[in-house]
């Protein structure tokens, strides 16, 4: 009876295995070119006004197109719905001339008024968009802040439709990087005619309307989003992919298995435990990222208000050792806060690691050999990687300076709260530049920046930045370097390293995908070789 049971089980298993072959996802038919990728987590929304993350951006780049699109290699602005543009002599007013064949996927025309209405919708306090600071504080669109804060009506925003196809915007101050910034979803166009009709449900498959290289075909929340080529897109003949499938995959191990099994074509991240092995894989592509890892000092806490103490702590870490032995991700030691922009802005060498000089500084500040130094705490959000770095720092400071620190981890939401409220002594931070200009980093540490959790201030630094705002080109960048040097000399923040982006994709099979500093890879340009 046992044997019969076993035999039946075995036959059942074989039967299922046989069916598995048939029921497994069929590979694409010869005609359709399908590109599949793992896209982080389930997107919060498809509405460009309401999104704020990297997975959402990847989808946005497929579905929508703004005034400009990023070049896939350099990320600089290329014509999108705007064919060409002009800047006024004072650098404050930009005029965009829209192309005639810019339409929504339902055929409705996109006009200059569409752009105006879209930006106003974005700024409308009732929309409660997350990313308004990009338009208000970074791009400095005149009047945007007043409308968004409710102090003025939409007419205060200095944007207008000169005629049906000409859009004009005025800024508060010259922004050298303004046009390049416009590929960001903060500056998107929205299909207002659809939004009016369907309200919050406008992004569902069947009702959603978009204007980018692809349209939404399928959306199974938590499983996948499928995009198909948009026939009404003005540049449709240059879009090679027929279908793009984005999978939100929470588990890094599963994502890697899917990649190795040939179920996805582009893998964006790998679990740290498998990194050593996957770095050797021929599909591995690495390049410098526009991201910095640093610690912030709380300047309201003694003795961190003393510059000498901060500098001593900064100078007594061996960053090369850190990236080689601790993080082991081939990152770049950082002696400034802005990652290098090749051909544009070299990384600043703001200080040197010098243990003797550090000890001297600490003694000057009143703590020779670390005597009498209070026990401070390093705060970081729960993660194996952050813990390893904190432990290394703890060790180094003990060895070189004779001071002892505690390390404390908090869950992400709690940690953000603590940083916001100044409830910390030393806190770990990381920042990715929103736009490719040193200001996206240096600007974090101005006195009124909401991201300056440590409340570091310096008149010299502020003066230099204010001066830079009135300058353009090389002169401006040189002034920004001066400001960044001051930031480092006064130890306003303690940088560790610049990130490396890692991706895995078979570039023998797929073209049009390039490593870029912001790790942005528009779907429009990808093709199968």
């Amino acid at each position: 009876m046992m044997k019969k049971l076993l035999l039946m089980l075995l036959m059942a298993f074989v039967a299922v295995a046989v069916f598995a072959e048939g029921a497994q996802e069929t590979t694409e038919e010869a005609e359709e070119v399908v590109f599949r990728l793992n896209n982080g987590t389930e997107p919060e929304s498809l509405d460009p006004a309401l999104i704020s993350g990297v997975p959402e951006n990847q989808i946005y780049m497929g579905l929508f197109e703004g005034l400009v699109v990023p070049d896939p290699e350099t990320l600089q602005a290329k014509p999108g719905i705007a064919e060409r543009w002009e800047m006024s002599a004072d650098g404050l007013t930009y005029t965009f001339y829209l192309r005639d064949d810019a339409v929504w996927s339902d055929g409705v025309e996109i006009t200059a008024q569409t752009v105006v209405d879209s930006w106003l919708r974005f700024l409308n306090p009732e929309t409660a968009a997350d990313y308004t600071y990009l338009m208000v504080d970074e791009a400095m669109v005149a009047g945007a802040g007043d409308y968004n804060s409710g102090e003025a009506g939409p007419e205060a925003v200095q944007i207008r439709a000169v005629d049906e196809k000409t859009f004009q915007v005025t800024l508060d101050r010259p922004r050298a990087f303004f046009v390049d910034m416009l590929n960001h979803y903060a500056f998107a166009v929205h299909p207002l005619h659809v939004i009016e009709e369907y309200g919050d449900a406008w992004t569902r498959p069947g009702t959603i309307v978009s204007n980018g290289p692809f349209v939404l075909d399928t959306w199974v929340p938590q499983d996948r989003i499928e995009l198909v080529k948009n026939p009404t897109y003005w540049d449709a003949e240059n879009v090679e992919l027929d279908r793009v499938i984005l999978y939100p995959i929470d588990d890094q191990n599963t994502a890697l298995n899917l990649f190795q099994d040939g179920q996805i074509d582009w893998l964006k991240e790998v679990a740290p435990a498998r990194l050593d092995e996957m770095k050797m894989d021929p599909t591995h592509v690495a390049n410098p990222a526009f991201i910095t890892y640093y610690y912030e000092f709380n300047n309201s806490v003694e003795p961190l208000d003393d510059m000498r103490v901060r500098k001593a702590m900064m100078m007594s870490i061996d960053r090369q050792e850190l990236v080689t032995r601790v993080t082991r991700g081939d990152q770049f030691p950082a002696y400034g806060v802005t990652p290098p922009l090749p051909g544009v802005y070299d990384a600043v060498e703001g200080f040197e690691e010098d243990y003797d000089a550090a000890r001297e500084l600490l003694a000057d500040a009143g703590y020779p050999g670390g005597e009498g130094f209070p026990e401070l705490t390093i705060l970081y959000n729960t993660s194996e990687g952050h813990k390893n770095i904190a432990e290394y720092v703890q060790q180094k400071w003990n060895d070189e300076l004779g001071i002892s620190v505690q390390i404390e981890n908090q869950e992400w939401g709690t940690y953000l709260d603590s940083r916001d409220n100044g409830d910390f002594e030393i806190a770990r931070g990381g920042w990715q530049g929103d736009y490719v200009d040193p200001l996206s980093f240096v600007g974090l540490f101005t006195a009124d920046s909401p991201f300056n959790s440590g409340d570091w201030t310096s008149e010299e630094f502020t003066a230099l930045l204010t001066e830079a705002e009135t300058m353009v080109g090389e002169a401006r960048l040189a002034k920004m370097r001066e400001a960044e040097m001051v930031l480092m000399e006064q130890a306003g923040v303690m940088p560790f390293y610049y990130y490396l982006t890692t991706n895995w994709i078979n570039t023998d099979e797929w073209g049009g995908w390039y490593p870029t500093i912001q790790d942005m890879h528009p779907l429009k340009d990808i093709y199968r070789k």
């Binding site: 919060e44 968009a129 990313y131 938590q222 191990n253 298995n257 939401g413 709690t414």
Partner: protein, 308 residues
Amino acid sequence: MSKFIIRRLLGLIPTLFIIITISFFVIRVAPGGPFSAERKVSPEVLRNLEAKYNMDDPLMKQYADYLWNVVQFDLGPSFVYKDFDVNFYIGQGLPNSMIVGGLAVAVALVLGLIAGIISALRQNSVYDYAAMSVAVIGISVPLFVIGPALMYVFAVQLGWLPVAGWIDRLGPVALIMPVATLALPPFAYIARLSRASVLEILRSDYVRTARAKGLSTPVVVFKHVLKGSMLPVVSYLGPALAATLTGSVVVEQIFRIPGLGRHFINSAFNRDYTMIMGTVIVYSALLLIMNFIVDVIYGYLDPRISYK
């Protein structure tokens, strides 16, 4: 008995109400909120966001409004996912989670009973040791090890099963590994429980009487032993279902199943208050009902127990 059933069913409502109330206030104690992010929103935008979600109302009013909506089965909008509301995610996720969880418990129950009974009948044989070793593995090895291990062997190396995904794309094969993973711990417990319980009953007087009467083993087992030996198994089923529901979180993540488990965890990290409340309500209701059913079955199985 029917009075008992009705009383118990009605008693579920105050229990659920207490759970909802405690959860509602406790989740707001945790630091941070739904709109915390590293890129902070300006105070004006924060005000706008709070207004949109009625968070600027006094807390008691928010609570009252929420309760009123729950009674009408409206669990509100998600604070994080802006295109769908909580009802949608639960409607999508719950059936999927129940398919996996239900199958896992069913498989565990059937296989566990079979394994346990046969182990007991063939005590100390090779079969007994083999089955109990598998049981020990099931009890000691965590799901997040079993799952990827199965995936590695059967999907990556052998290619017999798909790596991950759901039945709408891959067919029923997609269920095999997740169900196997999730079934293993309850299978282990049920096998051990039933084995011990059968062994005990086999030594009891009425079984000896049955054998003495000349009844064959299958008849003895099915007619006399089974019902009694089910008792510990049935009382374990309550905690088993709880464990399966929570275990499904891990399995859903590993095998990419669009279920409710992932929302359960992610909503806590995201401080998505409405989603947290929604999943808590659903899970609590499920557990309460399941435990109630278990109690009723228990009363049916054991004639010595009578409910009044």
